[in-house]
Amino acid sequence: MKAALKGGGARWALGFLALLAALSLLAPLLPLPSPIALALRGEPGPPVAPWEELGDGGFRAEYWPLGPLDRRLVELRRSLFGSWQSGPWLGTDSKGRDLLSRLVWGSRTSLAVGLAAALCSLAIGVVYGALSGLAGGRVDELMMRLVDLLYSLPFVFLVIFALALLEAPRGGWPGVSREQVLYIVIGAIGWLTMARVVRGQVLSLRESEFVKAARVLGSSTPRILATHVVPNVLPVAAAYLTLTVPSVILLEAFLSFLGLGVEPPRVSWGLLAADGVAALNRIQVSWWLIVFPSAAIAATLLALNVLGDGLRDALDVRGQGER
């Protein structure tokens, strides 16, 4: 199957995403400035090309509370690179924070959110859709009405509502953090499309002649599910997965942009884009603050979509060897 991921497009997409994932995971290891270290200068600093300023030795290990693995990586980085850090290759924002570093660290949020949505889709969406399709009749209708209902909820209001209810106020009731609310909301709506898609596939598979043939052979329902339905549903599900993820990443970026998602000091691409817009004024256009975060989002979404197309084509058994 890997070999069949033909079309240079899908290969590039896969490569890009793999690179992104690697950078994201190893963020603490990379010789980048801290994403939250301030250097108050009053205005954003434009990008400086690497050949002009490769880096300096002013590294400060300032981060939000990191997990143990990340802390190890930071120590490793210290021993490897000392206090050297890269220069402002993509510029800095008005508080002097390095944009490249923030982009790399921000990718963690985006990818984590995408992953969460993917898992949700698979766990809830596929099962729900398959059950609905198999059940058929009234049960199926009921289940799909629920999906329609959830679909119709305007998610922004949903988030605000959820925030109002669940967010931890200063002191008192424990509640959940904004980020956790984000994941809850994404979990609540991320599986809907997958459920619909899988249900449609299962419905048509149920009526297909080879399933009928399996019945005539005496196959039981679980066996038919395992042998015939699931293998024919998975490729579609996989392809749709790669479409769900971009929309969720975009959702997170949007919510963070509105200030409803990730909170500082944590970073996300949406937040960076918001910063960029906030920095706009008539006197000075700090283009790098908008362009780079937006480009990061766009490139990742594009890569996921192209990968989705490639996956769909590659997994379409019929497409190979047919005249």
Partner: protein
């Protein structure tokens, strides 16, 4: 006396088609309206009909894909009609089916080897390590090279796929195979190969066939007895020679009349008695005899009997049944001459 291998009595299948327009109740599609026939070992029964005749529904109901609304299906005396899925299981080894569309009846994601091993795995008739050998033997029996075992359906031609479907049906060594228009979707030059294969397999494995088709010439070639279906009921059944040589029911005659002859000379000299109208819808079957609106011989029956009274299947000769008022009226009179004149 031994019961026939397969005996179908009064089989009825109705479908719910939603509400009536004037909310008088539900609309019912009477796909099968009381069908009876029997099949002996090694015999081939042809079921002929056009669209709306119910022949495919009949195949599906007999083989247990759908439960009948009423009626009985007996395999060697054992009642199958209302068995649960589990109840059906042992009988699957005796009664199998080949579907019409070779492109749809094989799972596109399965390799041929797996397709053939599946029935063996379900019924555990063969130990796991023996399954491959058996599958290859099946391939050989249907004239396919062992190379095919590693391929997927879309890599095979229509004829090859149908052979695989046949092999799959034979895996459990059934006694009866229901063939639902098995060659209709194939190219003409391939049809003959498959037909020959069917005859060959029948001889070798003593199979009984129920051959559902619309092609009369094919039915004539392959079947011992023939039953003609119209709107969910059998209107005539007879042995091959009788049905084709001396058709009694006006619908049978019309079918034979419409069937093409591969001889331009005969076509030119042929008497045409074209059938008016269209096959009726099972949602609104005509009153009385279902065929009467299109029947050209209605006038020969006194009164309006064809319009008011539904004819029952009655014997009109040794081993022959016909459901027509005409045959009973004119049992002693000379019937209209057979279709093909000199």
């Amino acid at each position: 006396m031994k019961p026939p291998l397969l005996e179908v009595r009064g089989l009825v299948k109705h479908y719910d088609a939603g509400k009536q327009a004037d909310s008088r109740g539900r609309r019912i599609v009477r796909a099968l309206d009381g069908v009876s026939f029997s099949l002996e070992r090694g015999e081939t029964l042809g079921l002929v009909g056009e669209s709306g005749s119910g022949k495919s529904t009949l195949a599906r109901t007999v083989v247990g894909l759908e439960p009948p609304t009423a009626g009985s299906v007996r395999l060697d005396g054992l009642e199958l009609a209302n068995l649960t899925r589990r109840g059906w299981l042992p009988h699957r080894r005796r009664l199998q089916m080949v579907f019409q569309d070779p492109y749809a009846s094989l799972d596109p994601r399965q390799r041929v080897l797996s397709i053939l091993a599946e029935p063996l795995a379900i019924h555990r008739t063969v130990a796991r390590r023996e399954r491959r050998t058996r599958a290859l033997a099946l391939l050989e029996a249907v004239g396919l090279s062992p190379r095919v075992a590693e391929l997927r359906p879309h890599e095979l031609s229509g004829g090859q796929r149908q052979r695989v479907a046949l092999a799959r049906a034979l895996a459990l060594e059934p006694e009866i195979v229901i063939l639902d228009e098995p060659v209709s979707a194939l190219d003409v030059s391939v049809q003959a190969q498959i037909v020959n294969l069917l005859a060959d397999l029948q001889r070798r494995f003593q199979l009984a066939y129920v051959f559902v088709a619309h092609d009369l010439a094919l039915v004539r070639h392959l079947c011992d007895r023939v039953a003609v279906l119209y709107l969910g009921r059998i209107v005539e059944s007879a042995g091959r020679r009788e049905l084709f040589g001396d058709p009694r029911h006006p619908y049978t005659r019309a079918l034979l009349d419409a069937a093409p002859l591969l001889d331009p000379e005969l076509e030119a000299r042929r008497e045409r008695r074209p059938l008016a109208g269209e096959p009726p819808s099972p949602l609104q079957p005509p009153e009385g005899c279902a065929f009467h609106p299109r029947c050209g011989e209605r006038a020969a029956v006194p009164g309006e009997r064809c319009r008011t009274e539904r004819p029952e299947l009655a014997p009109v000769g040794p081993g022959r049944l016909c459901a027509c008022h005409l045959t009973r009226v004119s049992a002693n009179q000379a019937l209209p001459a057979p279709v093909i004149r000199r």
